[in-house]
Amino acid sequence: MWRDALLVAGKDLRIERRSRVATAQVLPFAVLVLALFAFALDTDGRILRISAPGLFWIAVLLASMLAAQRSFAVEVDDRGLDGMRLSGLDPAGIFLGKAGAVAIELLVLEGLLLIGTALLYDSPLRGSGAVLLIVTCVLATAGLASVGAIYGALSAGLRGRETLLPLLYLPVTAPVLLTGAKAMEAAMGVTPGLQVGEGWPWVRLLGVFAVLYVAFGVLAFGALVEET
């Protein structure tokens, strides 16, 4: 299973490296979202500074949807999923590979967006919150990538999937926005007096979210992609 996952993830990341869709389209889109919030909310920066964690996660959520859609769009035309199944890859491995590749893309994106929020919104970053911030990002990303892979497979090849995916994906991933933003508030110390330790309960909820959806994907992916 793990070997298959590495193969699939390697394949997907190679496609991204060569096609540069993630860097040329998804990343600029996320930065654009950050800029749009600035246009909509405030220009003096105070509101942006306070709401930076929430806005960061909205940008990540929207970008992750594109990444998940893209991850399965590349398989649809040449029936790549069927090909992978026929070549004897473990479905759980395919799922982990697809989700893993999306997760790696998202982690890179989150790193760049953090710099973006620091520059554009003047959001603080404190050293003591670094561990919390990293754990939050990793768990949230694992959950998002898994949900993305499940829904991506579910809607792959369907007509009208571009409009359907957001409706299915966003309500399920809403908790990431809520909990991720809360954990990040504590990690950054956006509000004065907020301790880093106050972020950890949120991380636990993110952990439950990530474990549930990774497990669901591992168990259900085989049945999900069967003859679709």
Binding site: L164, L205, T228
Partner: protein, 244 residues
Amino acid sequence: MKTRILGGASFLILAVVVYLGLWVTGPDVNQGQHVRLLYVHPEVAWVAYVAFGVTSLASVLWLIPATRRHVFDHVAGASAEIGSVFIALALITGAIWGRPTWGTWWSWDPRMTTTLMLFMLYLGVLALRRLPATFDARARRSAFAALLAFIGVPIVHQSVVWRRSLHQLPSILKADITKPEIHGLQLWTMLLSFLGFTLVYVWLLIVRTRLARWEDQAGDQSLSDAIAARRAEAVTGTFAQVRS
């Protein structure tokens, strides 16, 4: 016939509830006339949650190969549709009730937020069902989407609950809607209303499931009819050619 009796009985009960709720029971000390929403709002919300529970259960039964029957997909779809209608009603009646008692149409309270997300999730499931596909593919996709929604809802709920528990509750919500004691007649009207709405749900579920089965049968039938007609045409066509 039995279904008709069920439908008639449920509407009769609701008619009695309307009579009791509007004329027999009195206004409340704190809430005045608005207390009459007690006979509508909790009941429709209850039906919505029951409906989504049934959808999840039917989806699981469809996904397990040993219990896979066409009827479970029909039930899951029918129940998701009914649930969406009732959840919309719950949100609307809740807003109507919230305005006079809390002073706001909407508040980001855990239950309300979760209900709204649930509504969105099931709209997604219903949209998925409408996409053209073979019976099995559609049933499998919808079943998975319904299950994901089922897993997601407690997490949405918990995250909103926590967010509020770490923050001060808005004072607007401090007025507890359940605080006014429920008196005997009010309680009976409410229970009757629960019964009535639940029966309406069961009746709608039976009718809608039956309709879903007929839709599928009609689809199959029209296909085989078309094939038969085309064959007949081909045969007569050959005869005509031979004769000429």
